[in-house]
Amino acid sequence: MRTCLVVDDSSVIRKVARRILEGLDFHITEAEDGEKALEACKRSMPDAVLLDWNMPIMDGYEFLGNLRRMPGGDAPKVVFCTTENDVAHIARALHAGANEYIMKPFDKDIVTAKFQEVGLI
């Protein structure tokens, strides 16, 4: 079973994302900020990361930079999932190594389409 780390400071968003991704047969772990997400990746590298941008302690953008510099950190497919929905943010994310980008609000169709796009399903 593929694994997905859901990183968002909102427990509601994490719950919604978990429900959608479990429906797509992913095993889910959660983290509420970038720092906790990095720790989770050190313990076990997931196949996918669904990543919020704005979070306390360490934001998603900084997490992504750190992840990609970790040993094996280039492997996970990273899909941003954020309310930052302007071209400048999207371009920055792609440049930093994001594989896809979801603009909130999202639904099951969008998550499915984006995960298909990067070859996760």
Binding site: D86, I90, M103, I110, A113, K114
Partner: protein, 290 residues
């Protein structure tokens, strides 16, 4: 709605758009026509039917449009566009190297996501296609969806279903909450209103035809007739792309499956050796196919 009202609507829709509704689809007609009935200030479907029987042509047109299904998204099903980029275009790039002209038809193009997806695939091959004349003709029955297509403006939801993020950044401009496809892509597509039940030979000859997820609404006889007429408009080495749940097998021998490419078909050369046969005896062919 009385059974007689439903029968009237079924017959009219079949005649006007080919929509083949089974006897148990009253709920669908009711849910699709309720908003239109309200907008027209009518009490309900029985009153709508009375007006239609009285020859209210504009209302009839609205009813036919309201009953069309316009579900679509960018790069729908993905595989057809992989076939386009990986199989169809390479073959035609070499076959048309001297003519340098390609004509592509998106039949029942709905709100434009399919023809624009085709245009984006072609744009990715801009270097190989430099100096080529490319025509993408997109047709639909509904004037309303054609207007939306021409504007090329999509909601945040629509641009996130099937469109890779790189292509969004590359080919769209953000307008507030909406996204508009860039003029260079928009100008690659010409839009025309067209009813597939009627003659479409005036569109000319095509190298590639996308006809996906529209024939599923038609009965067998209509499907066969459309396949036959499309075949006559295609170059002998042209390619036809059907929807994921569609096939020509068991329906017509005007096309044959392209080997190992699901959903992709080519005109049958054996058929081409007997010109005129299909045109002269279409009824015989329908019976034979059954």
């Amino acid at each position: 709605m009385t059974p007689a009202d439903y029968d009237f609507l079924r017959r009219l829709l079949k005649e006007r758009s080919g929509l083949d509704l089974s006897a148990d689809k009253q709920y669908l007609v009711e849910s699709r026509l309720a908003p239109l009935t309200r907008r027209a200030g009518l009490a309900g479907i029985p009153e709508l039917v009375v007006k239609m029987k009285g020859g209210a042509e504009a209302l009839i047109k609205d009813v036919v449009e309201a009953m069309t299904t316009n579900e679509t998204f960018f790069f729908r099903d993905k595989v057809p566009f992989d076939h386009l980029s990986g199989t169809v275009l390479p073959a035609l790039l070499s076959a048309r190297a001297s003519r340098r002209h390609l004509r592509i038809w998106s039949a029942a193009s709905s709100t434009g996501q399919e023809p624009y997806s085709i245009a984006m695939c072609l744009k990715e091959k801009a270097v190989e296609l430099a100096g080529w004349r490319i025509e993408i003709v997109a047709t639909d029955l509904s004037q309303q969806v054609l207007e939306k297509s021409k504007a090329g403006i999509y909601s945040q939801f629509e641009v996130q279903r099937g469109l890779p993020i790189q292509l969004l950044v590359k080919h769209f401009k953000q307008i507030g909450e909406l996204w508009q496809i860039n003029p260079d892509i928009r100008s690659m597509v010409q839009y025309r209103q067209l009813n597939l039940l009627q003659d479409f030979s005036h569109l000319g000859r095509f190298d590639v035809v996308f006809c996906r997820n529209v024939l599923i609404y038609f009965d067998q006889e209509t499907k066969v007739s459309i396949f036959e007429r499309i075949a006559k408009m295609m170059e002998p080495d042209g390619m036809l792309m059907l929807g994921a749940a569609e096939t020509v097998v068991g329906m017509t021998d005007a096309f044959r499956p392209y080997p190992e490419r699901r959903g992709l078909y080519q005109p049958n050369p054996a058929r081409g050796a007997r010109p005129g046969f299909g045109a002269m005896q279409p009824q015989l062919r329908v019976v034979a196919a059954r």
